[in-house]
Amino acid sequence: MSGIGGAGAVPVGDTGLAGGGVDPDQIPPEERGADVEQPAGRVRATLIAIRDGSALTTVLAVVIALVVGAVLIAATNPTVQSTAGYFFARPTDMLSAIGASVGGAYLALLQGGVYDWTQASPLDALQSFGHAIGFATPLIAAGLGIAVGFRSGVFNIGGQGQVLMGAAFAGYVGFTWNGPPIITMLLAVLFGLLGGGLVAGLVGVLKARTGANEVIVTIMLNYVIFYLLDFALSTPLLQAPGSGNPISPPEHPNAVFFSVLPAAYHVNVGFLLVIVGTIACSWLLSRSSIGFKMRAVGENPRAARVAGIEVNRVFTAAMVISGVLVGFAGVYQVLGTTTSGFTSGVDAGIGFNAITVALLGRSRPWGVFWAGILFGVFQAGGYTMQAAQNVDINAVQVVQSVIVLFIAAPPLVRAIFRLPQPGARKVAA
């Protein structure tokens, strides 16, 4: 196994799609133990560690993705296209047009997602990053849910349905019950988590009891819940009184997530809850007994069964936990983002984007957290880029997916940049 370290350590086990089990190649090099001999000299050793580590491939993957995005932006820019007509007569025209289009787009991305230098003070400039955190929060929550599923060997592709259900449950409590502050909010959150957990739990029970493949069932439930929610939004149950459109009434102020920073930063208590969730997931997966069982089932369901673990029960538990976390993304959407009433499009694609976030975070809680922040930056910056530079926001989606694609294939990244494969010195490639 010549050092092919597929770092996409997502043990998709007995999903019925993948054959189950994870092979050693799927474990990132840094976890495989120090089988690379350390050469003499601390500086040299550090340099080699950086060269062979996964952090470098991550950075390089981002670089490749930004280059791909740049090509896309430049190629579709009208000025670039018109100057290309006389490229050989005056090449500088086209080159400067490329520079202007790509540079402008990426600067706008930075301005909208990280730091807006046009603002008066550095603190105001960071409001952009606050926006990014706002986008990142539901992505992290849902990404954690998908990651827990991956680690347990279940592929929860039903994020959309669970987000919608979480949103509907939390939203319903939030606009019907005008209770005391904090308590109303917490009750709405609890109901939302219940909604997501119920949907995923149904999948888990069906899988455990009848063997129904969770991939099929979650995909189908996405549609079922979408249409049911659309239906409920046109009945008095969820529809705003007097509205002709399928939209819910606005949430009561006491149910809405309150800001933890000045309002302009758009950072609310939901983000703190997500940090708590990340810590909890981290503990769950690496320290708790159920987490151990989940990982055992995810790595090798057959071995887990032999070891006395009730695999079906673990599948169900993993699905429920996954659904609860994904459900929180829906809660955040109605209590933190669109508090003025939600529609059946309230999921905003989070269900599917969460899968890429989980993959980018390599299904580890803190990995998912930072992956979510990165995607949040892209999302927030993407809107600024679209508004200021007229670059369609879907360019961001292309960049995001190229990052994940290359991060999953470190050998490919290394081959592109002509870096040696880690361990290649020891075992001939």
């Binding site: 799609l17 190649d25 009848t210 249409y227 899968i355 989606q397 997916s401 994940v404």
Partner: protein, 423 residues
Amino acid sequence: MSTRVAAPVVGSAASRELSYKTPVALGIFAVLALLLLVVFARDGVSTFSFTQAGTVALPNVSLPVRATGIAVTIVAALMTIGAVALIRLRGAVPRWYVAVFTLLLVVGFLAWATAGQRLPIVGLLTGSLALAAPLIFGALGGVVSERVGIVNIAIEGQLLAGAFVSAIIASVTKNLFFGLLGAVVAGTLVSFVLAALSIKYVVNQVIVGVVLNVLMLGLTTFLYETVLVPASSTLNAPPTFANLAIPGLSLIPIIGAVVFDQSVVTYLMIVAVIVVWIGLTRTRWGLRLRAVGEHPQAADTVGINVSRTRFWNVALAGAIVGLGGAYFTLGSVGSFSQNITSGAGYIALAAVIFGRWDPLRASAAGLLFGFASQVANILGIVGSPVPSDILLTLPYVVTIIAVAGLVGRVRGPAAAGRPYVKG
């Protein structure tokens, strides 16, 4: 075929303990029938119309709704009891039994939903086939890819690529066959990425598939918004395939219009189903493909080049799915729009699993899905007491119940999802 491989396992399990899943599923449907067709019975007469232009006129069938509902419910209940008896006596419920039961309930439901209305049967079946066509192409590609050992979640991405490229090429060249060719190339290119990453760089195939879907959705939407929308009359106005009636055969009542008066893409689909089925089960190509998917090491030992076999068959799968993508633009709508496939690739993936990785059964699953969707569409048009949103959940609910009750634990190709590293 997967059944042949899986048969001993299933058979021995069934002989040890009897599974009552099928009778339970039938029972649930019988109770639903009781609720809907008897408790909430409707009055009036439902007319099933078989007329179509240009062929022998068939008489309409008129069903008194209430009586039909009661009759259907009684027969369904009897058949559920019969299923229990069959499990006790023979250990299994034959497939035709389930098929007859399903047909019965479908007739009962259609009569109930169209009380006082006329239901065009030919339109129902033609529309079903049209909705099923891209699903069947997608499912065939999925079957080929997974039987050779590469999990293909990228069906959605391949469909989108095929739809997008075929729309542009057919618009520019004004030639439908160049459009089809473009779709094949586009689907193959997406497959190349899937194959290269999962075979050469042994990346988790599920990851590649999911990410390719997101990538293709982002890429086609970006290019649609920035390139196609500003120049829609030149780049996004492809001609569409006209129906091509097969002389003689198209005059057969009902079947003629449904099967033999279709566009070239639909005929291609029928040919593809037959070719893939025969190819997989009866040819050297199919034997090698399945060997690589079930036990790559054994295949390698007898001299089959596992990586090459996987690579080119995944490419072939992409080509087939690409044709399905062309169906969206050149076969029906006539122009590309954002996310035109809207999840059809995931449905096709479900059809692959539902059909137990068998080309014929996966195609049947696609047809079932197309039929359920078309029922929802037609009932939305003729007007039914059920709100359209509820009707639209029909295909998905039916699939969930069928997967949970009738299919159950399925076993895919043994080596699907596992990279093969020689050594």
